[in-house]
């Protein structure tokens, strides 16, 4: 349908609503950076002077860097493991019409809707019964649970919108399964893989509830922030730290969503909510 036909005339009030809606979505997140440059200790109007001090103060804090290091290590491990597992799973789901794959996919996708607290306490119970001490490894395990559905959902459209004749041509020309995978399948699904890596890293980097239950005394960045929020005097530094995290997430996720859609047919672009 062309714009401006008699069905959908430009609707000013609806457009105004859309603008207000976007403001409601973005303003709260912009409040954090705005006040992170405010020299006053309290987050309130009127704004006082402009300062970089809260950011500079972060540099002298050892725990911040320790937590950052933990988050990055967990995030990298989680994103690589989830994506590798998801590549195989997505290929199987899209290609091999497996009996019983519906319920299997359902179970794998459960963490998308079931509250995180359930899986958090369930893993906590298992670890304590097995006598496994809580550590960054248990956090990693918990994050894989959370990330796997997103990784599969990102990769699935890649395999579904795939021209099978290319693989068949490669096979007909005498290549074996692995070479076909590396030379044909991999390059085509590569944007999906990059998108999945970026997305899983961000989800893990930002995830709080699993880390809260499974981290023990090993703090990731969100756990560190959670601990500091009890002290109102820490608010400004936490505003600065939060602003940096939000900015990083924005950039990484934007790249992920963008790369994830490259070369996909329009119909597949709504991603996980198809």
């Amino acid at each position: 349908m062309k714009p401006g036909t008699y069905i959908s005339q430009p609707n000013t009030s609806l457009r105004l609503y859309a603008v207000v809606f976007m403001l409601f979505i973005y303003l709260p997140l912009l409040i954090l950076p705005v006040f992170s440059f405010n020299s006053g200790l309290y987050v309130r109007f009127p704004l006082e002077g402009f300062t970089f001090n809260w950011y500079l103060a972060l540099l002298n804090r050892e725990p911040v860097f320790a937590a950052l290091g933990n988050s990055i290590r967990v995030g990298l491990t989680v994103s690589i493991l989830s994506t590798v597992i998801a590549v195989f799973a997505a290929k199987a789901i899209a290609r091999n019409r497996l009996p019983g794959s519906g319920p299997i996919v359902g179970v794998i996708m459960l963490p998308l809707v079931v509250p995180g607290i359930i899986f958090g306490v369930a893993l906590l119970v298992l670890m304590s019964r097995l006598g496994v001490p809580l550590s960054l490894y248990t956090v990693t395990l918990g994050h894989i649970v959370v990330c796997l559905p997103f990784a599969i959902a990102t990769l699935l459209p890649r395999f579904e919108g795939f021209d099978l004749s290319m693989e068949e041509a490669s096979a007909d020309l005498g290549e074996n399964g692995w070479i076909t995978f590396w030379r044909i399948t991999f390059p085509i699904v590569a944007p999906g893989i990059v998108a999945s890596l970026l997305m899983c890293f961000t989800i893990s980097f930002d995830e709080f509830i699993m880390a809260f239950f499974l981290g023990g005394t090993h703090a990731t960045l969100p756990m560190y922030i959670w601990g500091q929020l009890r002290f109102p005097t820490q608010f400004p530094s936490m505003l600065a730290l939060s602003s940096l995290i939000i900015l990083t997430s924005f950039i990484v996720i934007f790249l992920s969503l963008w790369i994830g859609r490259i070369g996909l047919p329009k119909s597949a672009q709504s991603g996980i909510f198809k």
Binding site: A18, F21, I93, I118, S242, F250, F254, L257
Partner: protein, 309 residues
């Protein structure tokens, strides 16, 4: 695909294989498929199914001092049933996240409608922009609302600075209002997408046909757009209601004593109260409620689909 055995045999002739494992794997497409799925299945089994089974088992045990009485009993469930506090908290959780969900879905519908019908170029950018905040840290989004709604926070100090109020509005932070607003903001993207997808799928020729037959915009919306988008609306209600039901962070950070939810209670049992079996029982109850709601939404979707068809 056992049924097209000749076809499979044909292809394997074109692609000679060495070794019996290779031949077996090639012949049995299903086997290969399960092989590819195996890592995901093992991980899901070990991190989701086994722990959940443990959780269910633990819920039938009882806490005795620092130890568990491992004889199976329904005592935790009985306590949850008998003590009014549990039922009250559960009811409140349903109420708070139900209200937040309904308000959010109502607010999201026009936005999804706008993008589906009134945006003609760069739809993808719009969708990315709407979903972007959803991917940033949940904890930080809640933190932002704490800063905004606080007693001396952005709204109160702003309004006082402008001279509109003389003393801070108390109902803003540590209240059910705060929890609802925060949940609505946090899950808006999750609620928009299913509605958008269902609106986007609507065949525009139906609308043109209705217009040709003399229906005005309101009738067109009520008779075509709304019914056809209802499955998306149901999906978005479900997708937001379920996760918010067990939310812990929001009530803990911006909620007050009157907005404690079931997630808070579960955390307490595993934390300071240190009655893990009770916490497990509460988790199981929450999961059962979620399953029932899931069945409801599935049934409703089916009903609407049949009705629309």
């Amino acid at each position: 695909m056992h049924s097209d055995a000749p076809f499979v045999a044909d292809r394997s002739a074109a692609r000679p294989r060495t070794g019996w494992i290779g031949r077996l794997l090639f012949r049995h497409e299903h086997l290969r498929g399960y092989g590819l799925l195996a890592p995901a299945l093992i991980v899901t089994g070990l991190t989701v199914l086994v722990p959940c089974a443990m959780l269910v088992m633990l819920s039938f045990w009882t806490q005795v001092g620092y130890d568990y009485d491992t004889s199976l009993s329904l005592q935790n469930y009985q306590t949850a049933y008998e003590k009014p506090i549990y039922a009250a908290l559960l009811q409140r959780s349903l109420w708070i996240s139900g209200m937040a969900t309904i308000v959010t879905v109502l607010l999201c519908y026009p936005m999804a409608y706008y993008v589906a019908f009134h945006v003609h170029r760069h739809k993808m950018i719009w969708i990315i922009l709407i979903t972007l905040p959803f991917w940033t840290s949940y904890l930080l989004r809640v933190f932002a609302w704490k800063v905004i709604l606080g007693y001396e926070g952005v709204i109160n100090s702003g309004l006082m600075h402008l001279g509109l109020i003389t003393e801070p509005l108390r109902f803003l932070l540590y209240s059910t209002t705060a929890v609802s607003i925060t949940l609505a903001h946090s899950w808006a993207a999750f609620a928009i997408l299913p509605i958008y997808v269902s609106l986007e799928k609507i065949d525009k020729s139906y609308l043109e046909a209705a217009a040709d037959l003399g229906d005005g915009p309101v009738l067109r919306f009520l008779r075509i757009t709304l019914p056809l988008s209802l499955p998306g609306v149901i999906a978005s209600v479900f997708l937001m209601f379920i996760p918010t039901l067990g939310d812990y962070v929001t009530p803990a950070m911006v909620g007050g004593p009157d907005s404690t939810m079931i997630g808070t209670l579960i955390q307490l049992q595993f934390g300071s109260v240190n009655n893990w079996p009770m916490g497990a029982a509460l988790s199981v109850i929450l999961v059962i409620i979620i399953c029932l709601l899931g069945l409801c939404s599935f049934g409703l979707t089916r009903m609407f689909q049949r009705w629309a068809a």
